[in-house]
Symmetry: C2
């Protein structure tokens, strides 16, 4: 069983979480066998630690963290690896992988470019 963490920045406005909740719900609907959790860097909960600890407690064999950030800045390059380093020590039996930011994924860039052009045609 592979656990999924969708990791977002977080914001003061509770409505801000809506797109991430929608992605979580899409993933759950398509493949309910994968436990999937949201996690936030700041302002919102759960934090990454809680989400990973919760998945580990469920007995997942591995965890992959998907950073739902448009681009890799300091949060992805510095904060995220530092948090994950600590979590790996806490859960030595559960490999934790970190995926790239969404803006590094060609199929997502294509979808965004298609949306832009649909908006002006």
């Amino acid at each position: 069983m592979h656990g999924i963490v969708l990791f977002a920045h977080g914001a003061r406005d509770p409505e801000w979480a809506r797109p991430f909740e929608a992605i979580r719900d899409l993933v759950r609907a398509r493949r309910p066998e994968f436990p999937v959790e949201l996690a936030f860097l700041d302002f919102m909960t759960p934090k990454l630690e809680e989400a990973v600890n919760g998945l580990a407690a469920k007995g997942v064999a591995a965890i992959t963290i998907f950073p739902l950030f448009m681009a890799p800045g300091g949060h992805i390059k510095n904060d995220l690896p530092r948090i994950v380093e600590d979590l790996r020590k806490l859960h030595p039996g559960v490999p934790i992988a970190i995926q790239t930011a969404v803006g590094e994924v060609q199929v997502i860039l294509d979808a965004i470019a298609g949306w832009v052009l649909a908006g002006v045609d």
Copy 2:
């Protein structure tokens, strides 16, 4: 002629702009007849004002701003409308529309969910 502005947050790390440059290049490659400019809220240039002024100077009939933000927070709900209000006064002959954040677009949410599931299958 319809001008396109791809509006992103900006960051201290110059590499951060790469996904937005990739989206701009995709849009340009698919439809070179639409003038398309990047613009940033903070840390990076050009700012939104410069991008819009540049498109207006090129004689575009209308401008659409696409906020390349994962979710609509304070920057999209407060900062962006305030800047655009001033720009509309400056360019009364050029309608300026603001699109939703990328995380409010179903086709993009679907692409993200698909990428997540491809990463754990």
